[in-house]
Point group: C2
Chain length 368, copies 2
C-alpha cells in the first residue's frame, strides 16, 4: 500500500514544481491523510524538501490504524502541544534550502499564514489551491472498495432497523440505534450525524433528530452513512408508517423517486456536474416543487462526507469515471413532511455497465 | 434572554471601536453563537454597521433551537449555497458606509480573507484577534447553569453504566451505550466523542474505542460529556474490573487521584493557569511519571469542549471567578493501562466556597 501513497505524493510534487514552487505544505486534514496514508488531525505534510515529512503534535502511531502514516514518510512529533505543525514544517523547509513553498490558502487561516511568513522571512509562499482535492476526485480501486464496504454496512444497519418495531420510538433513539448498528457491522463510526425525521420532520435535509415519536401514517426519512477506513458512504430512504400510504404520500414519493432516478441515469463520464443537477431538478420543478429544492442534488464522497464534485446548478466541471457521488434529491412540504432518496454511486462508462450503485437497499415505497 | 446577547454584542462593538475599527465581522462558529444567541454552522455576524446582521446559507429557524438567533438580530439567508456569508456581510458593511472592519484572522482562511478584500477594495481589514474568545472566558449564571445540567447528565449516564454488567462488552459498545444514555437524559448529544479504554487502552487521553472486550482485572477508563443547550461538560473516571485491584493499580490510582486533587485545590481566582498545571504535575513527576504526562492537565469548557483557558506549563494568564475548567490528569503505562480522572469545575473565590464541582460521580477506586 505504501506505493500508492508514494505515487500520490510524487504526482503532487510534480504538479507543484510545474507551477513554480519548490516544495508543498499540505494542511487540510483529509488531504494530509490522502497523501501520507494516515495522520492524526491537525498534522501537516511537507513535500519536496528532502524526505517527505509529517509534522504533528500527537503521535500518529497511537491506537487508530487510520492515523498511521506510510512507512516512507518521516514523522516529526512536536514536543510543545501549542506548536503549529505548519510552522514547524516551514522551518524544516527553510533548513533544507527551499526558497518557495506552496501552501493551501483555503485551509490555512490568516493568522497561521502570517506565522509561516514570520518564521521564514526569506521563504516565498505560493498558493497550492485545491490541487490535492482535485487529485482526490477520481478514486482508485482500493478507495472504491472501501466505499463499497462502507455502503454495505449502511445497507445492513438500515435493513435491520426496518425489521424492528418503529411506532412509538423517537427520532433520536432510531438515529442512535442506527449508529450502533453501523459500528456493529464494522464501521469506525457514522460517516456524519445520522438524520431521522418523522412526520412533519421527514424529508428535511440534515434534520437533527428530535424527541418526536414515530406515529401511524407518518413519512419516516432516514439518512445515514458508514465510515470504513476513512471512506464515507451515504444513503437516505423514506418509508410510510402503517398499512396504506395516503394519496399525497404516494404522489410525492413517485416525484422524488423519478427525480432521483433521472439524476442517477445522468451519471456518465463527460457529463457536466450541473447537468446531473438539472436532470433531477427539472422533474421536481415540473411537479411544482422548484421552490422547495435544496442547493444541489448530490456531491462527491470519499475521505470526507461532502467533497468535490458538487452537483449544483452553478458547478463547473464534468464527471470522470471512478468518481463516487451521491444523488440525493428531496422535497419537504412544511407541516406535512416529505421524501428524501439518496444513493452512493460510482460513475462508470456505459461500456463498464454504467453507474455502479453502492447502496442497494430497495427504493420501493415500503409501508412499515 | 435577548438582552444577554445584546449586551455581549454591545461590549464587543465598544471594544472594537476602542481598537479603531468601525465594525466587526465574527466568523468563528462558537463566537457567532455566543453573540447572536444561536446560529447555524458557517454563519457570519456583522456588528457595528447598522442593525446587527447574521448572514448564513441555511435558515436558522429550522428545527434546532440552538440555531435560533436572538430577535433583535437581523437575519440574511443567502440564496446561493456556494455564497460565503463573510463576503456577503462585508458587502453589507460597505453599503452601510463602513471604512474599517475587524475580522477574525485566526478563523478566516487566507482565501476567504482575500475574497473579502476583493469585494470591498476600499475597506480596511483589521484583526479582531481573540476578542470574542476572551469575552467568553468568564461565564454568566445562565451559562454555568447549562453546564451544571450538562454535568448532571454525564453523571447520570455514567452512574447507569456502572450498574450494568461490563465484563465481555467491547469498548465501542460501552461508548455507544453511554452516548445513548446521555441523549436519554436530555443531552442534545455527546459533548465530544466518548472514550472508553479497557486493559492496555485504559488511561489514554482521547482513546478511540476499539473492539477490545472488558476483562477481569482490567482498568477501565471512561471519558464522556453532555452537550446541553450548546454547553459541554466533561468527566473521566477509571475503575477496576473484578473483586480486588492489584497493588500496582491501587498505587497508580492513588498517584493520579492525588495529582487531580492538587489541581482542583489550586483553582482560585488569580491563580496563574500554569500554576494549576504545576500543582498536579509535580505530584506525578515525584511519582516518576513526568515523561508520561500529556501537554496540560485541564482546559476551559463552554460552547466548545476544549476552549480557553488552557492549563498547560506555558499558558499565560490567570484564572478568574466563574471560569469553568476541567482538571484531567492521567498516566498510561504502555502495555498495562492507566488511570485518568477528570472533573468539570467552576472557579469560585474562597468566600464563595472555593471551586464548585459540577461532576459529582465518586472518585473512589470502584471495583466493578
Amino acid at each position: 500500500m505504501s506505493e500508492v501513497y508514494a505515487a500520490r505524493r510524487a504526482r503532487l510534487r510534480e504538479r507543484c514544481e510545474a507551477a513554480g514552487s519548490e516544495a508543498a505544505l499540505v494542511s487540510g486534514d483529509a488531504n494530509v491523510r490522502y497523501l501520507a496514508g494516515g495522520a492524526p488531525p491537525g498534522a501537516t505534510l511537507l513535500l519536496g524538501a528532502g524526505q517527505d515529512l509529517l509534522c504533528c503534535v500527537t503521535d500518529p502511531f497511537g491506537y487508530r490504524a487510520t492515523d498511521h502514516p506510510a512507512e516512507d514518510v518521516r514523522v516529526l512529533v512536536l514536543a510543545a502541544p501549542e506548536a503549529d505543525p505548519a510552522v514547524a514544517a516551514a522551518e524544516r523547509a527553510v533548513e533544507a534550502g527551499v526558497g518557495s513553498l506552496a501552501v493551501e490558502e483555503h485551509h490555512l487561516t490568516v493568522a497561521r499564514h502570517r506565522a509561516l511568513g514570520s518564521v521564514a522571512p526569506g521563504l516565498r509562499l505560493d498558493d497550492l489551491g485545491t490541487a490535492v482535492e482535485q487529485q482526490r476526485l477520481v478514486k482508485d480501486p482500493e478507495e472504491i472498495s472501501a466505499l463499497r464496504i462502507a455502503a454495505e454496512i449502511a445497507d445492513q444497519a438500515l435493513g435491520e432497523l426496518l425489521e424492528s418495531i418503529l411506532v412509538g420510538r423517537t427520532e433520536r433513539h432510531l438515529a442512535l440505534e442506527l449508529e450502533r448498528r453501523l459500528v456493529d457491522h464494522g464501521a469506525a463510526g457514522p460517516a456524519f450525524p445520522t438524520s431521522v425525521g418523522a412526520g412533519p420532520n421527514s424529508g428535511l435535509a440534515g434534520h437533527t433528530p428530535t424527541d418526536r415519536r414515530v406515529e401511524e401514517g407518518d413519512f419516516l426519512s432516514v439518512c445515514l452513512g458508514a465510515d470504513y477506513r476513512g471512506y464515507r458512504s451515504e444513503i437516505a430512504r423514506t418509508f410510510v408508517i402503517g398499512t396504506t400510504p395516503a394519496d399525497w404520500q404516494i404522489e410525492l414519493y413517485d416525484q422524488v423517486f423519478a427525480a432521483q432516478r433521472a439524476g442517477r441515469e445522468a451519471l456518465a463520464p463527460g457529463t457536466p456536474y450541473r447537468d446531473v443537477d438539472r436532470a433531477a431538478r427539472v422533474v421536481l420543478e415540473a411537479a411544482g416543487h422548484g421552490e422547495r429544492l435544496g442547493p444541489g442534488i448530490g456531491h462527491g464522497v470519499g475521505l470526507e462526507n461532502d467533497e468535490d464534485p458538487r452537483l449544483t446548478p452553478s458547478a463547473m466541471g464534468k464527471l470522470d469515471a471512478c468518481v463516487p457521488v451521491t444523488v440525493d434529491p428531496g422535497v419537504h412540504l412544511p407541516g406535512r413532511g416529505g421524501v428524501r432518496i439518496d444513493d452512493t454511486l460510482v460513475v462508470r462508462s456505459e461500456a463498464d455497465g454504467g453507474p455502479e450503485l453502492l447502496t442497494i437497499t430497495t427504493k420501493e415505497l415500503l409501508a412499515l
